[in-house]
């Protein structure tokens, strides 16, 4: 894994679907038959069925967010959010009835600096979290800014059955280690 690119992003608004718990309880292999896969399936089905309601969203990429909650260290359970980026400039009341479908939930990620890791092939299904912390974070001068990370899936990701030919960017929110 190469060193990351450091970027700054404005507030990111995502609309999608989520799951909280142990996502691998039903099937733990790196297949689509677990709660992560099912959440993606919900998003794909929704896009197929209600595409006309998604005119305010970026459609050429999707996001998978992993978010730790206060009980995550105790129970191993965490939140998975899968969704699309909301593109329209929010008005004074950012979401009106015709902007975000009611079936979706929104995730508002604060503006942040991100370390962007470019994963290729087998790196995608490996323990890249540990690699990031062991190989880069500890000596980078950065620390984790928020207890989440997200993966950006675009045309470079060819599917679970073509992992070897795929590329995936992982975004970790970071801040300088000496910042209060």
């Amino acid at each position: 894994m190469n060193n990351p690119t450091i970027v700054k992003l404005d507030r990111l608004i995502l609309g999608g679907f989520c799951f909280f718990g142990d996502p691998f309880r039903s099937s733990a292999g790196w297949t689509e038959e677990n709660e992560i896969g099912r959440t993606w399936q919900r998003l794909m089905n929704f896009i197929k069925a209600r595409r006309e309601t998604l005119s305010h969203f970026r459609m050429d990429a999707s996001y998978e967010l992993h978010l730790l909650h206060p009980e995550s260290e105790q129970t191993g359970e965490y939140e998975i959010f899968v969704g699309l980026e909301y593109l329209s400039t929010p008005a004074e009341h950012p979401f009106s009835d015709d902007e975000v479908p009611f079936e979706m939930c929104a995730k508002i990620l604060p503006a942040s600096t991100y370390a962007v890791f470019h994963l290729e092939g087998a790196e995608i299904s490996g323990d890249w979290h540990t690699l990031i912390y062991k190989n880069w974070m500890d000596s980078s001068g950065y620390i984790e800014a928020y207890p989440f990370s997200f993966q950006l899936y675009d045309e470079q990701f060819k599917g679970l059955d073509q992992i070897e030919d795929s590329v995936l960017d992982v975004y970790m929110p970071v801040k300088p280690a000496d910042e209060n």
Partner: protein
């Protein structure tokens, strides 16, 4: 059974985590601590643990704690609240709720009789992980018609004990072939009453027979209703005890089925002993 078995490094890492669980049953152990022991991030550890052990890490930890607490309950000098707190439950109520969910009865009733070993979770060790990920382990769904079993019944304290004496006696009575020339289909039926762990189970060495076969006065008849069964086979390197623990403690809690009847059928191919155990358990969908 294993289409893509975990590598030996992954198994080693999970064994480290399992050891930490045993050391931490009475301590404030977190799943993050288990992940750290394995050397993985929480995310990767969760995926791997589920895959290797067929339990989620937290589920495994809680089930191990409850299993040990069930043993402690047999000592009437220990208060339930003390046991609950010892095993890291925050209150009598949360302990009782979890206990009832796992064992089907309140902790106070758990004192009256020892807990069904089939409902406990013993520590998972390397031999169980090897079995789980063996290419020889196979679980298939079968639908069987009504079965008439004819044979000899005995009491046994231990399901792993082979009823060789009554099986030999039965074969002397019935022989290897039926009246029409077909081979006898021999089997062993194990029947678990609710208190079997204290009073033993009933074991029947039996032959599967047609309704038209005349009743033999020396033999007992038992009818098994039609229904779905799970047929589990494993290679000869796994013991019956290990296979039973796999079925009841690992596979059944996570399966989409539940036990339909407190029975177990072990099918024979005519030989007195088989190099490959096949156990059938009656199941129904949840």
């Amino acid at each position: 059974m294993s289409s893509n078995p975990p590598g030996s490094e992954s198994i080693k890492a999970i064994l480290q985590a399992l050891k930490v669980v045993e050391d931490g049953l009475q301590k404030p152990l977190r799943v993050l601590d288990m992940a750290d022991a394995a050397g993985y991030s929480l995310y990767h550890f969760s995926r791997l643990f589920n895959r290797v052990v067929h339990h989620s890490p937290y589920d495994y930890l809680i089930r191990r704690r409850l299993s040990e607490s069930a043993n402690d309950l047999q000592d009437p000098a220990q208060k339930i609240i003390d046991i609950a707190l010892r095993y890291q439950f925050s209150s009598h109520e949360s302990f009782s709720r979890a206990f009832k969910r796992m064992f089907g009865k309140a902790p106070s009733l758990g004192r009256d009789s020892s807990t069904d070993p089939h409902k406990l979770l013993d520590p998972v060790r390397e031999d169980m992980l090897v079995l789980i990920h063996s290419d020889l382990l196979c679980i298939q769904a079968r639908t069987l018609p009504r079965l008439k079993l004819v044979g000899l019944v005995d009491q046994s304290p231990d399901p792993d004990q082979h009823p060789s004496v009554i099986m030999r006696q039965l074969k002397q009575i019935l022989g290897n072939k039926k009246a029409g020339g077909e081979l006898q289909q021999y089997c062993i039926l194990r029947m678990y009453p609710s208190d079997w762990q204290s009073h033993g189970l009933q074991v029947m060495a039996a032959a599967i027979q047609d309704d038209s076969t005349a009743h033999h006065p020396a033999l007992t008849e038992k009818i098994l209703p039609p229904g779905d069964w799970a047929a589990i086979t494993a290679g000869s390197s796994s013991t019956d005890s290990l296979l039973r623990r796999f079925i009841y403690q690992i596979w059944l809690p996570g399966a989409d089925v539940q036990l339909r009847l407190p029975f177990e059928l072990e099918m024979y191919n005519g030989a007195l002993s088989s190099s490959t155990t096949e156990l059938l358990i009656p199941v129904s969908t949840s």
